[in-house]
């Protein structure tokens, strides 16, 4: 069989590749940033509560997060030879995953900080949110998910595409089967009113279970 241009362009790895960086530093930087930001926020809240405000809490926590981002940037620059050697598909793939993770972390932070009522579970309760936070969350969910999903679906390989599609179908069934049944039973006062977010959570769990099974078994 003739060797095509396709083969010629296949990457000869192991020659120009940089050394595979460990995952320890990114985890350490992320954890240090989160804990330090929480500590600074707590300290600033405490001083403000005692009548001696040093600076606004969001500013203090934001400065810590900024320092963490700079540290992460310096680390990525140091190990740049490794990921610059990746194919375009692989770089976009990881960018879409990290992007989705950052959007999730930002949404969780907003959910936690945007509660009007204090107390209760910040993530799965239906407690009131401030309108500004609610609008930002909705836009983040719709826009962020659409953009990251667009890039992710364009760059996944065959194997992951199959896992993703079957997982999507499992999530669909996990929503479409119980939702109308619950709705009908709720109309007869047999069950409490339909909780959409509980159904979404169930669908996401079914989706994740099938995805991880097909991708990593």
């Amino acid at each position: 069989m003739m060797v095509s241009k396709d083969t010629a362009t296949m990457r000869e790895t192991g020659e120009a590749s940089g050394k595979r960086p460990g995952i320890g530093w990114p985890i350490a930087i992320s954890l240090a940033t989160i804990f330090l930001a929480a500590f600074v926020a707590g300290y600033l809240d405490g001083t403000a509560g005692a009548g001696h405000p040093i600076m606004p809490t969001p500013l203090g926590a934001g400065l810590v997060v900024l320092a963490g981002a700079v540290a992460m940037g310096l680390y990525l620059r140091r190990v740049g030879a490794f990921w610059r050697d990746w194919s375009r598909r692989k770089r976009l793939y990881w960018a879409s995953l990290i992007g989705a993770g950052l959007i999730g972390a930002l949404a969780a932070t907003l959910l936690h900080s945007g509660r009007v009522e204090v107390g209760g579970d910040p993530f799965f309760s239906n407690s009131a949110l401030s309108p500004t936070i609610a609008i930002i969350l909705a836009l983040l969910w719709i826009g962020g998910l659409a953009v990251t999903a667009f890039f992710y679906q364009r760059v996944i390989d065959d194997h992951e595409e199959r896992a993703y599609l079957w997982a999507g179908l499992a999530g669909f069934y996990a929503f479409i089967i119980p939702a109308p049944a619950w709705w009908a039973l709720a109309r007869a006062s047999i069950l409490p009113p339909v909780d959409a977010m509980l159904l979404v959570l169930f669908a996401v769990i079914a989706n994740a279970a099938v995805y991880f099974w097909l991708k990593f078994r």
Partner: protein, 71 residues
Amino acid sequence: MNNQLKVLRAMRNWSQAELADRLDVSRQAVNAIETGKYDPSLPLAFKLARLFAMPIEEIFDDGFEGHRDDA
């Protein structure tokens, strides 16, 4: 579907990760093909055939033992 991927890879002393990089797929994809948990798409099968410079049917075996005309 049976395949010779593990043997062909071992003959070249490549790790799963190295083969995955050459095919621009994930290491999990190579592992799933080798263990028969996943049959690759036609484009990926052709890519494998080109990489190993072999016909697809010498890499993959669907277990069919009759004549080609019987298929």
